[in-house]
Amino acid sequence: MMLADILTIILLLGGAFFFLAGTIGLLRFPDVYTRLHALTKADNVGLGLIVTGLAIQAQSWAAAGKLILIWLLVLLAGAGVSYLIANGALARGVAFWKR
């Protein structure tokens, strides 16, 4: 097995771990605001690791670039949407959870 393959495996497993964490957060966290944190985790870290893992296997620089582009687009959407939803929820008085 090549070094690149080992690296890919590690990155992909890491990505899957963060997706799992995102889902668990989505299910367990107590209010809209904390659940939005789960959203950015899967977007940002999980997909980032998976994309990097696959980019190592890519045939050309441009193909790797396309994978990175997909990641950046998801980041942009995730960041924008989580602000808009949080802001809307705040404006409509959705309650905070506090310990």
């Binding site: 771990f17 963060f18 964490a21 668990i24 957060g25 367990r28 966290f29 107590p30 209010d31 605001y33 904390t34 939005l36 944190h37 789960a38 950015t40 985790k41 977007d43 940002n44 870290v45 980032g48 050309s60 620089w61 441009a62 193909a63 670039g65 396309k66 582009l69 980041l75 942009l76 995730g78 960041a79 924008g80 989580s82 602000y83 949080a86 802001n87 705040l90 905070f96 959870w97 506090k98 310990r99």
Partner: protein, 168 residues
């Protein structure tokens, strides 16, 4: 003054042309026969971009330096939040804090908001005149210092001269 503005907007157009051309190259996976559709598309997209977005000077070296910082912050923060989510007791101490923002222009502020929301553990909830409402998952962490560092890095990227903290 006017001439400086003109130079700025020309160099801004040039930057956009280059960036969108790179984007086309990535999309078409380096197929050189695609350019006869790609070139007009890049020109139209640059035009729309110029129409929508004000001119903004960017320090590219600072932007490159920002990438490893962002990746590291994401990994560390993400790991912290992941362990919290999986911990049986769900050790969350969320809080809503007000953060006084010193970045002068709107575009830089919005980029700051995006970065806050992307780094796991913090989430921007509202934007007022000079403060941001930020929701954080762990109110015991050293979040104020981290936000300060992040803001400083963004002001370097957008070539904004540093202001003394007393200006707040």
């Amino acid at each position: 003054m006017n001439r400086l503005k003109l130079i700025n907007s020309w160099s801004s157009l040039l930057t956009r042309l280059i960036m969108l051309s790179v984007l086309w190259w990535v999309l078409s996976v380096g197929d050189s026969s695609s350019w006869w559709i790609g070139l007009p598309a890049v020109l139209i997209a640059s035009g729309v971009s110029m129409r929508l977005q004000p001119v903004q000077s960017v320090n590219w070296i600072a932007l490159l330096r920002f990438i490893p910082f962002f990746v590291w912050q994401s990994l560390v923060g993400g790991f912290g939040v992941a362990t919290r989510a999986m911990h049986p007791a769900l050790p969350l101490t969320p809080d809503l804090v007000e953060y006084p923002v010193t970045l002068p222009n709107e575009f830089a502020r919005v980029v700051f908001i995006y970065m806050i929301s992307l780094i796991p553990g913090s989430l921007c909830v509202a934007m007022h005149r000079d403060t941001l409402s930020i929701h954080i998952l762990d109110s015991h962490s050293n979040f104020l210092a981290e936000l300060g560092i992040l803001e400083q890095k963004i002001s370097t990227i957008f070539c904004i001269p540093q202001q003394p903290l007393s200006a707040v």
